[in-house]
Structures are given as structure tokens and as C-alpha cells.
Amino acid sequence: MAVAEAHDLYRARFDALAARREATDPIWLAPIRARAMQRFVALGFPTTRHEEWRFTNIAPIAATAFAEPSITAVDRSTIAPFDVRGMSCTRLVFVNGHFSEALSSAGALGAGVRATNLATVLAVDPGLVDPYITRCASDEDQALVALNTAFAHDGAVIHVPARTVVPDPIHVIYLSTTSGAPTVSHPRTTIVVGDQSQVKIIESYGGPDGEVYFTNAVTEVVGGAGSHVEHVRVQRESLSAYHVANTQVRLDRAAVYAQHSFVFGGALARNDIGAWLGAEGIHCTLNGLYLASGTRLVDTHTAIDHAKPHCESHEVYKGMLDGASRGVFNGKIFVRLDAQKTDAKQTNKVLLLSDDATINTKPQLEIFADDVKCTHGATVGQLDETQLFYLRARGIGEAQARAMLVHAFASEVIDHVSLEPLRDSLESTLLTLLPKAALIG
């Protein structure tokens, strides 16, 4: 399928949906969707001529005629891999983009806290998302965000009122499963945390290995003044799937936000993460770990925008690339004229486990204020031979020594997750995924 045909396909599908949308969408959403569709057609699928997509060719996505999936009932066992043993939580499950009440379950939420799904909210209580949806993730120059806005019909909606501590974490699961033909879903997650409230949220994406599908996710997070949000994203899509996700975070005064992103799956995975630090005293952490092997491509673009004084941001991204896989990392930090006393630190470390793996890494600091502290560091390399030798000199076999070092490299990111059961689960996932080549050299 040519790219122009792809645009036509989505356009036609959008028009076909219009009638049904009239019944389900609140009135204010219609013009937003129409505009988003226009933006998508105007922008088109990004190509490698686009600076932000220079190293990531998404032609395979544009060239596939992904079908709209039908509502599928899946067996409870299908989502077993997402279970975090020993973690009591509220669980919201979406299958192929549709909410599954049967698979979802409630945990301790606290008074006034809503953990629900977009389709229901749009039908019965659209005011809950009206002030937020599309306010964080702009579709102005992001074709895929525009595509999501045009088509999204479901996804998690989490709303925590002011001065509320949510006792149990909330686990949002997006499962994709196809029955043959490649399908596309556009999950839309909205997270709103009120002033001085605390919540921990996990977003998981996944699907059975070998299946070809396209997840085009958008997540919007609004953190109120003095709020504490821990946000973990675990991407374990099928190794043949395409995953494009855009997460945009807006934070208010003295908010504390920490995101831990784990990318384990996808033939092509692209993550855009943006944080807008729009008031004083905010602490923002963006950490990430990505693994790739075979001919997979993992691309992460982060942007932290310091707009006001006295904010801190910390960013640690680690990648492990094996086989002929490719990694792309672009970390932008903006420090606006107003943002004196900013403290921003970015670290990007990549372990190349084979001769054919490649990485394009680019820290990009744009600083307009003069009284700031900004640091960036980048490392690209192999396992430290001296460390390896040290371990071997203590009698540890080479394979095990390599495994220990690779594991240590990766687990540093996992260690920052505060939920112990989730840490354990991520650790065991890591062990099954660590490239065998690294273990035997």
C-alpha cells in the first residue's frame, strides 16, 4: 500500500465512523476529532526527512492496511503474563483498544478516586475529561497523536481529587491480539492527579508473540500542585508488532513526578515523552530501559521543558542492543529564560552487545537562562573488561560474569521503581530477555 493510499484509508474510515460517533461522542469532541483528522492528512506519516524521525523509518506502518479490530472476548489466562505477583491493585484491562469489564478488577482506591474507561466517561460523564483531553498532547505537528485523537474511542481515565492518597497502585493493561489480519488500536490514557495527592500508576502494553499489529498510544498526565505521581510504563509487545506511544506530562507547583519506562518488545518501537514544568519547585524524573535484538528498532525521544525557576529534572536512559538491532535516543532539555536555578541532569548509557548493533544518540540542551546547572553524559560501549576480569579472577565463569554485569547494568533502572512486587516482576522479565549472546560472549 502506498502512503497516499494509507492516508485515504484512514480518511475513509474516519468518515465512515462519523455517524456512529455522533451517538457516542459529546458535542465538544466532534470538532476536535475533525481537526485532528485534518492535521493527520496534512502532516501525513512522518518520513526520515523529518528531523525528529531521521533514524526511524515508519514506512512499514504506513504501508500496512491495518484493520480496525472487532471487540474480542479473551480468556482470563491471556492476561496472566501481565499479573504482578503479590501486588494488590486496581486493574483496568483493554483488549484491542476496548475496555473489558470482565477482566478488570477494583482495589483500594480512596474516596472520590475514579479509575474507569474513556468510552464510559464520554457516554455518561464527559465533563471529567473535557478540560484535559488533547490539552497535554498537541496534534499540531504530531501526525500520530492526531491520528490517535481522531480515532481513540477508549482507554483508561484516572482521576484523583485533591488531597487524596490512593492506597493501591492502578494497573492499566492494553492487550492486543489479532486473529490473522494486522489490526490497529489507538489507546488514549488520561491521568489527572489533584493538588497534594499521591498515586502510582502502571501502564502495560503487550500481545502474543509473532502477531503483527500496530499500537498507537497517547497518554496525557496532569499533576497538580504538590502531587506525587509514580508512573511506570512496561512495553512488552509482540516482537513483530509496531508500537508508537506519545506521553505528555504537565506539572504544577512543587509536583513530584517519576516515570520509569521499560521497552522490551516491538519490531519497531517509538516513544515520545514530554514533560512541561510550568511552575516552581517541580521534581521530574524520566528513567528508561530498553532492550533490542534481531533487527528491531527502539527509538526514544524525550523532551523536558523547564519553564519556571527552581525545578529539577533527572533523566537516566539505558539501552542494551544485540544482534543487528538499532537504538535511537534523543534527549532534549529546554531551560527557558525564566527558569533560573534549574537543575537538570541527563545520562544516557548504551551497551552494544554485538558488532552489528548501532546506536544514534543525541543529547540536546537548549539553555536560555544563565543561572542553571545542567549536565549531560553519554556512554556507548561494551562490558567493562576490567570488571569482567575482576569477577573471573574471583573464580566466576566468564558466562556468568557477563550475565552479572549485563544484569547489573539493566537493573539499575529497575531499582528506582518503588513497588517491590513490580520490581521483582520486572527483574524476572529481564532475566528471560537478556540476550543469550551477552551471557556467553
Binding site: R163, Q196, Q198, G226, G281, H283, H310, K341
Partner: protein
């Protein structure tokens, strides 16, 4: 202990404090609340002697002396302690080394002998326990690489070591999650004593659940527009600053 009379101050020609009157006696805990930009942090800064603020009128008497005449370090040595809203990082300067220098400066001023390294470490370990501080933080550079919570805890820890007579806490609660807030509040409460006064500057009532004040003052546009007991804080939390500001404006006009 502290007498603030008709205090006016400005920053870069912008007047921020416009006639503060406040009397703090030993043993009391005063909370100063107010919306952003009301002058809370300016007041804390003026008390500690920050250069950027220019006092244009009024006086501050502390333990019988003119506080405004003293250099910041003299105020500190006289027992005035400011817990910073944004604790400053000082790379390469070991936390324990810095604190020993500070403590010995204060002790020398008080006519007490300086502590040697052994005595100092014993004291510090004791105080670190009080705040549930990882003693590893002591050997790290001052505030560098500390999380927001660790920085605030470190402020209160320094306060515990320096044993000041007047403690000014500038938005110590901002950036703290509920658990850290409790620990910090416990640390402050442990320091409450009949010969020590505390001024808690905060935007939110939440901290005052844990550090219960004797008096609450509401600051708006550089003036204290309402004072009351601890219940005033709860009232503010419910109704916001709007109602009282409207009230205050009416009072000011009348």
C-alpha cells in the same frame, strides 16, 4: 524573643512586605500562611538577612538586639536558623565537614569549646537517627544528588545539630510525600521546647496537622490580614484564601 514592627521590604523596587507586625515568644509555634506571592518567603529571607531584600521601614528585634544590623552569619550564630525552601547544593563539599565548620562557628560564638571529629560524629549519628537519615548522606556533598525529600530532611537534621533558638521553616513541606512529611514533622516536634520558638511558613494546611501551631497568621499582599488559633488553618483549607482576602481588603479599605 522576636518582635517585628511595621516591617516593609522590597525587591528590585517592587515592594513585597508592607507593614508586618508580629511578636513571637519563646516556646511558641507560629504558622504563616498565604497564597503564592503574598510575601511569605520574603519574610523568611529578611529575617535571615538575604541581600536581595531591602528593608525600607520598620524594625526587627531579636533577643533584645536589632536583628537587621547583623550579618547573616551573625544571625545564625545568635541562634536564628532558616530551613530553606530550596536547599542549595554545594558540590564537592562534604556534608559532615560543612556541618562541623558551621557547628564550631556557632559554638565558638557561644563561648563553647569546638568539638573534635570524634565528638562531632557521635553527636551527628545521634541526630541522624532522629530524622531517620541514612548516615551515608553525611559523607556526600551538601545536598548534591539528594532527592527533594532528602534535602528537606537534611535541613531539619542541620537544625537538630545546630540547636537554634529561633527556627524559621520556609515551605519545608513542599515536594514531600506523606511519609517524608511525617518524619520531618516529627523531627521538628522533637525540637520543640520552652526556650525555642518556631515559625512555620507554608502554603498548605497539611503540614500543620503534624506540627500543631499555637498561632496562625494569614499573609496577603505583604500584610498579616488575619490571625487566629490552629483552627484558622483548617478554615483556610476549606474555603481557600479568597474569602479571607476579600475580607482583608474590606478591612484595609475601611
Amino acid at each position: 524573643m522576636l518582635q517585628i514592627t511595621n516591617l516593609h521590604a522590597r525587591v528590585d523596587d517592587k515592594s513585597i512586605l508592607r507593614g508586618i507586625n508580629l511578636s513571637v515568644k519563646a516556646g511558641e509555634v507560629h504558622a504563616i500562611m498565604g497564597p503564592n506571592g503574598s510575601g511569605k518567603s520574603t519574610l523568611a529571607g529578611v529575617l535571615a538577612g538575604r541581600d536581595a531584600y531591602e528593608v525600607t521601614d520598620g524594625s526587627v528585634t531579636y533577643k533584645g538586639q536589632d536583628l537587621l544590623e547583623l550579618d547573616p552569619e551573625e544571625r545564625a550564630r545568635e541562634g536564628l536558623f532558616l530551613a530553606f525552601q530550596y536547599p542549595v547544593e554545594i558540590p564537592g563539599v562534604n556534608n559532615a565537614y560543612f556541618l562541623k565548620a558551621a557547628l564550631n562557628a556557632v559554638r565558638t560564638h557561644r563561648g563553647q569549646p569546638e568539638l573534635d571529629a570524634m565528638e562531632f560524629m557521635a553527636l551527628v549519628k545521634d541526630k541522624a537517627k532522629l530524622l531517620d537519615m541514612d548516615s551515608g548522606l553525611l559523607s556526600r556533598p551538601v545536598n548534591e544528588g539528594f532527592s527533594g525529600g532528602e534535602k528537606k530532611r537534611n535541613e531539619i537534621f542541620q537544625m537538630a545539630v545546630l540547636e537554634p533558638t529561633l527556627c524559621v521553616l520556609d515551605e519545608t513541606d513542599s515536594g514531600l510525600d506523606i511519609d517524608a512529611l511525617r518524619i520531618v514533622a516529627e523531627g521538628v516536634n522533637a525540637l520543640r521546647s520552652p526556650d525555642r520558638a518556631v515559625i512555620v511558613v507554608t502554603h498548605y494546611q497539611r503540614l500543620l496537622n503534624y506540627i500543631v501551631p499555637d498561632f496562625v497568621h494569614v499573609l496577603s499582599e505583604g500584610r498579616i490580614i488575619k490571625s487566629g488559633g490552629k483552627e484558622l488553618a483548617l478554615e483556610l483549607e476549606d474555603k481557600g484564601y479568597g474569602w479571607i482576602e476579600a475580607d482583608g481588603a474590606a478591612v484595609a479599605r475601611g
